[in-house]
Each structure stands twice: as C-alpha cells, then as structure tokens.
C-alpha cells in the first residue's frame, strides 16, 4: 500500500524546470533512495514534499489512518505534524540549544501544555515535563547521545551533529523520515555507524525512510528501491541491481554515448 503518492509534481524557478512531472510512490516500511547527479533536483523534491518550497503543479497524497490527505499548500509545520520528518543537506540544528532541548523542541506538537500551568508551575506542568523528559531520555539512549545531552548542539563534532539531527527528526514521532545526504562529509567509520542508525530507524522505530545519498555503496546496500533523478526528470526506478545496469542511469552519470 502506498503511504506517499506523488503525481506529476513540478517546480519551475523562472524558466528552469527544477522538478518536472515527477511521479513516485513510497510504501509503508520501505527504504527508498533518491539518487542523481549534482543539480538533478533531489533536494528541491524533498523541499516540495515537506512544504519548504511551494510546488508549481502536481499532487502529493499521504495515506493516514483517517484517509488520504493532500499535502501541497500546507504549511511545513502542519506537514511535520502529519508525520513527515526530515534532515537537511547543510545541517540545521538549533546550535545554541542543548541536545536535549533540540529533541524537546521537536516534540512540541506531541503534547499540550496549558499556559497557566506553565507560568504558575501547576502540577499539570510537572506531569507533562516528566512525560517529555521520559521520551527524551529514551531517544538519547537510542541514539547514543546521553553523554552529550547537556552540551550545545553547535559545539559537537560533525558526525555527532548529523546523529542529533536524525534524532531530532525521530523526536517528532514521524511516519516517514527524509534524510538529505546524511553521509556527506563523514569518514568511513562514521558512515558505518550511520548505516546501523538507518537500519535502527526502520526496525526499532518502524519508520519509512527516503534517502538522498551520493555514497553508492551505502545506497546499494541499504535501499530496496531506487529512484534516479536527472535534470528534474525521473529517468529510472527499480531495485539496486536493475539501476546499476540501466543505460539511462549510466548515461546520466558518465555522459551520453556510452555503450555498456
């Protein structure tokens, strides 16, 4: 069953077709990778799906417990509440907040706190804070971040910042998580750790994962299905084995006129 369906999605920046008539679908529990040369429109596609950039035309439908919901035209915060979480290509943490606060800031839509309970510190406030504290502690353990919980997120090493960003996306209690080049700038050891982390998102958190990545060994090992985007157009779709042999994909990566 398709969890997310994208139909004829397009985005024009002036005269440039950044994303043109893209069709794709993501099933519940799947790990889908989105690859393509630089400037192919991968990040733009993520931005359209999560509402950061408004689309020119097309349709995006999410299947929820209460039926199908059209995502285009919704605010990013409302899309996040519906269960689409993401990370960013250039890490966007709340740098001057602690790791713990980064995670808790991502949980604000999961509970309600009464204004008067907040400013008067009524028992209801402490009850809610204990609940959120419990969620946070569990996440910190899952992502191995307990040791750095009280440090400012901006001061952490690069690999750890990536981990915090993924943990923050998981803190929103999402159904689909979009990872935009999570392995960029990582050393092989960190990439191996990342691979375990993505596996964990699927098994322990039961999440559907959509991954943009240039590290082909990571993509080919992890992904069940791959979409290939080039110049804004979806040029191929299939299993890793099919994609590796696809002439259109080889042409896109190595240039035209290659006969394999």
């Amino acid at each position: 069953m398709a969890l997310l369906t994208v139909t004829k999605l397009s985005k024009q920046f002036g005269g440039l077709d950044a994303v043109a008539d893209v069709d794709m679908h993501v099933d519940a529990g799947e790990l889908v990778a989105l690859i393509g040369p630089n400037g192919a429109g991968k990040t733009t596609l993520f931005n359209l799906l999560t509402g950061v950039t408004p689309a020119t035309s097309g349709k995006v439908t999410l299947t929820t417990a209460s039926g199908k919901v059209a995502l285009l035209g919704k605010r990013p915060s409302d899309i996040a509440k519906l269960g689409l979480a993401r990370t960013f290509q250039n890490i966007r943490l709340f740098s001057k907040l602690s790791v713990r606060d980064n995670l808790q800031a991502a949980m604000t839509h999961r509970y309600h706190e009464n204004f008067f309970a907040e400013i008067l510190r009524l028992p209801a406030y402490y009850k809610k804070e204990a609940l959120v504290g419990g969620w946070t502690d569990a996440l910190l353990r899952e992502f191995d971040l307990t040791a750095v919980a009280d440090l400012d997120a901006g001061n952490l090493p690069y690999g750890t910042q990536r981990r915090v960003e993924i943990a923050r996306a998981a803190a929103t209690a999402p159904r689909i998580i979009f990872l935009d080049e999570p392995a960029a700038g990582m050393n092989p050891e960190e990439t191996a750790g990342l691979r375990e982390l993505i596996e964990k998102l699927r098994t322990d958190f039961q999440l559907t994962v959509v991954l943009i990545e240039h590290d082909m060994s990571l993509v080919m090992n992890l992904a069940e299905r791959i979409y290939v985007l080039d110049h804004g157009k979806m040029i191929a779709e299939g299993t890793p084995a099919q994609i590796q042999k696809d002439p259109a994909v080889i042409a896109a990566y190595l240039g035209g006129g290659v006969h394999a």
Partner: protein, 324 residues
C-alpha cells in the same frame, strides 16, 4: 524533585529578605528619597526589559516598539484612575492596559512578525510611533500636554512585588514547551517549521506576552511618576530598554537585572556631572560593548537549583535553570 522545591524556597527567602533589607535601610535612613526613586526606576526598567528580552533574546524578533505598549499601559492607568482614584482603580486599569496592549500586539504582530531582522525593527518602530501619534491627538488622553495629577497609587513595595511576579512569569514561560518552541525559531526558523513548530503562532505568543509586561511597566510608571506625556514614549524610550537588554546579554534574564541595576546606578551617580553625564554614560556603554560584546552576562543565568545539584553531586534530568 527535591532540588526543585529547595531552589524555589531559597528564591522565595531571597525575595523576602531583599524586601526587608530595603525596608530596614529606609527606616535607618541609609536609603533616602533620592535612592528610593532610583530603586523604583530600576524596578520598572527591569519589568519592561525582561519582557523585551523575551521578544528579542528568546524568540529572536528584533522589536523596537516596546515603548508603544508601555504607553498603552500608562495611559490606561492615567485615564481610569482619574475616575476611580484608589488602589482598586489602579489594579483595574492595570488589567485593562494589559488587555488592550495584548490586543494591539496581535494586530501589529500578525503582519509585521513575517519580517526579519532590521525590517521588523523598522516596522515595530513605526507601529509604536502610530500608537504615540494616536495618543497625541486624542481628547481623552489630553493630547500633547499629557496627563498630570495621576494619584500616587504605587510605592516601592508595589514595584518590588511586580518585579518578582513578572520575572517569575517570563522565566517560567521561557522554560516550558512555549519557551523551547520560541527558542527553536530563534535558532533556525526553517528547521523549527520542519519539526512541527508554527513560527507565526509562537512568535506572536512571545510578542503578546512581552507587550503585556510592557503595559504593567507603563501602569507602574504612570502612578509612580504621576505625570505622563506622549513624548515620554518615543523611540528613545524603546532604545533605552534595548540598551538594557543588549548590555545585560541577549537571552539572559539575570543579565537584564544586572544591566538595569548598573545603568540605573550609573545614571544616578553621574547626575552631579551635569553636561558631562551623557558623555560618560555613552562612553561606559561603548567600553562595555567593546570588552563584553555578548553583554555583561552573555547567556548565563543564575540557577540555585543548578548550584544545589552540583553540591549534592546528583544530576537531575529536568531543566537546570530557575530564576527567582
């Protein structure tokens, strides 16, 4: 859990002790009318500046319109206490001023909070100027001549209690779900939206909250100074509050206290220098900014609970800050 209550108790004891200390010093005669006036001015400035710090320091919205909301509070009190000139009238006017200021903040905030940085500063400055010009031209506010003979319904204990109350309110707000949301927006608005935080809603919440405290400060100002005029609430008033926030440290409530006290004392101490006063005052500001660019305290907060936990050697899992 233990540290939490202990810290709250220590803050309460400190607040009461501070009250009695000032009271005793007045009885003994160490604090004369001149110093008492300085203390009240500092107190009112703390109320106004902590509200502004919530807007600038915590939600990251650069507002230059704080004097406008202060004017609303001051005029609500001045007008209502003309009719009901007793304590009840004062508290009624305080509530009315807060409500009007909050409504105006919503009206101003919805269009302007979309703007960022310096654009927002100019828009809020314009909004405050509109409030001032309206007051300048209304009959009920007595126009440019301002209002005088406002009954003296507030003395230093009233201001002291309100400093404690508004600070408690703002600190608790900043260390809750709301506070985490507005600080996330300050750090990165796009990322905040991506984790389900509606920036418009939370920025507006902080703005409205700041406006309410500004109205409280304005009301106290009116009944303490007893004379107000539209020219008291111009851009210079907004800027002098901004100076307190920036000097103390953007995002530090403790810093706002320190800066308000330092500037208040400096201002009073320099009065004997006559014309040189503003020169020395400005020089002091420049020196502090050169040597402490992030303000006197940066983002540091005094935390009794933190101290208790460090001493006790056990680490709590809840937020480690609690001020006054």
């Amino acid at each position: 859990m233990q540290a939490k209550w202990k810290a709250a108790l220590i803050w309460l004891v400190l607040a009461v002790a501070g009250f009695y200390l000032i009271n005793e010093l007045i009885v003994v005669g160490v604090i004369n009318a001149f110093i008492e006036n300085m203390l009240v001015t500092i107190g009112i400035n703390i109320i106004l500046a902590t509200g502004l710090n919530l807007i600038i320091g915590f939600s990251g919205q650069f507002s230059l319109g704080h004097a406008g909301f202060m004017a609303i509070g001051a005029y609500a009190t001045a007008i209502i206490t003309q009719q009901i000139s007793n304590t009840l009238g004062f508290y009624l006017s305080l509530g009315v001023g807060m409500v009007i200021a909050m409504l105006v903040a919503v009206v101003i905030g919805i269009p302007t909070l979309r703007l960022r940085g310096d654009y927002l500063a100019i828009a809020t400055m314009g909004a405050a100027e509109i409030i001032r010009v309206v007051i300048n031209n209304l009959k009920i506010t007595n126009g440019a001549a301002g209002m005088y003979n406002i009954p003296a319904l507030a003395n230093w204990p009233t201001v002291y209690v309100f400093v404690c109350l508004t600070t408690l309110m703002i600190v608790n707000f900043a260390r809750s779900r709301a506070g985490r949301a507005i600080q996330a927006i300050r750090e990165d608005e796009i990322a905040a939206e991506a984790v389900g935080i509606n920036p418009t809603k939370w920025k507006l919440a902080a703005f409205v909250m700041g406006a309410a405290t500004a109205a409280i400060g304005g009301s106290l100002h009116a009944v303490y100074i007893q004379t107000i005029a539209p020219s008291d609430f111009g851009i210079m008033q907004s800027i002098s509050l901004l100076i307190i926030v920036v000097l103390g440290g953007v995002g530090s409530i403790t810093g706002t206290f320190v800066a308000a006290i330092v500037l208040g004392v400096l201002d009073t101490a320099l009065q004997q220098f006559g014309a040189l006063r503003m020169v020395i005052y400005a020089l002091a500001l420049i020196l502090i900014m050169v040597f402490k660019p992030s303000g006197l305290l940066g983002r540091y907060e005094v935390s009794i609970k933190g101290l208790l936990e460090r001493k006790g050697g056990h680490h709590g899992t809840t937020d480690s800050h609690e001020v006054e």
